[in-house]
């Protein structure tokens, strides 16, 4: 899987040390990747604290499973995949809770945009707002392909859906974004 998030031989050396529990290797890999993973999770979760929790879960899962990482993709891509799966699991859990607690799955747009502006000062708030308002499927596909730079095939593999599904979700996302931004 080609990586929009780097990966080289030095990194594989750090991964090898990380498998042995090396603290410095953790710092190196975390420092290299956490900001990209957090940007991805912030847009997926649309809540700063939820994204922080998801980032924590992602890195803990990554370290627990680091022996299984073989380097077929870049380390960053591998961690992105874990991050998206972590988000999807959390979203399913929230959806179950929302059945019990009315309105539990709603997101606070004002809170999200304040957090987005703080975490990414150079971002466009209009675009972030429109992106955040997309329905989940279209939003996930747009974030992975149009913002993060994954191919349709990679996004399909990460999301666990068919390529055709990703294409139709991207098409829907573009149409809805056009309607929101053309006002």
């Amino acid at each position: 899987m080609p990586s929009p998030c780097g990966g080289d031989s030095d990194e594989m050396h750090s991964v090898a040390l990380a498998r042995l529990g090396d603290d410095e290797a953790f710092s190196q890999l975390y420092d290299t990747h956490h900001r990209r993973v957090f940007a991805l999770l912030l847009r997926l979760e649309r809540d700063e604290m939820a994204a922080a929790e998801a980032l924590q879960e992602t890195f803990i899962q990554a370290w627990k499973g680091i022996r299984a990482f073989r380097g077929a993709s870049g380390f960053g891509t591998w961690v992105h995949k874990i991050a998206v799966r972590t988000h999807l699991m959390r979203a399913r859990r929230r959806a179950r809770e929302a059945v019990r607690i009315e309105g539990g799955a709603a997101f606070d747009a004002a809170m999200y945009l304040v957090a987005a502006r703080r975490a990414m000062p150079e971002t466009s708030i209009d675009i972030e707002r429109a992106l955040a308002r997309l329905p989940d499927g279209a939003r996930h596909a747009a974030i992975l392909c149009l913002v993060t730079g994954y191919s349709y095939a990679d996004a399909a593999a990460i999301l666990g859906v068919r390529i055709g599904t990703v294409k139709s979700r991207i098409s829907r996302a573009r149409t809805m974004l056009r309607e929101m931004l053309d006002r």
């Binding site: 912030l42 890195f59 004002a110 987005a116 150079e122």
Partner: protein
């Protein structure tokens, strides 16, 4: 034909705008240490010899330590998410965002009632001054934080005086 071209132009513009969005974001600062400590606790990371309680690394921000303590307490609880969400550092982060979001909403409502236009900034600055005073009390010898508290208090008094006219 024109519609098709118009749509294609829009599509290209949207794709370009999305591709220009930043791909990196800064997470809360306490997270790095929280993750590291969690991995050390579960033995995924080996604690280096220099990383004893007296070492420099232990002089991390109090917020980070409190956050980890919150996590450690919550580990026995099946719902760890709740413990992370209720740690004091996370609480400050969340309520800080709520505070700023509320001011943003206040700005949007600025065209509303005259009471909102007058009371809004006063209430916002009063909260800011109280927060600055609390933060300054962490490190009483920090000149910059003391100045921040003084300026915020001055702004609150200024708005209070203006409101009383």
């Amino acid at each position: 034909m024109n519609d098709t071209k118009h749509f294609a132009d829009w599509e290209a513009k949207i794709d370009a705008a999305l591709a220009r969005l930043p791909r990196e974001a800064a997470p809360p600062l306490f997270l790095r240490e929280a993750i590291r400590r969690e991995l050390q606790t579960t033995r995924q990371l080996v604690v280096p010899p220099s990383d004893r309680w007296w070492s420099g690394l232990m002089r991390i921000a109090a917020a980070g330590a409190i956050f980890v303590a919150g996590l450690a307490v919550g580990r026995t609880d099946e719902n760890r998410r709740a413990s992370a969400a209720t740690s004091p550092a996370a609480d400050v982060q969340r309520t800080g965002t709520q505070y700023v979001a509320s001011i943003a909403r206040l700005n949007l409502a600025a065209g509303g009632s005259s009471a909102e236009r007058v009371d809004g900034p006063e209430v916002a600055v009063a909260a800011l001054a109280a927060a600055a005073a609390e933060v300054a009390s962490f490190t009483p010898n920090d000149t910059l934080l003391s100045q921040l508290a003084r300026v915020a208090r001055g702004a609150r008094e200024h708005l209070g005086t203006r409101g009383n006219r």
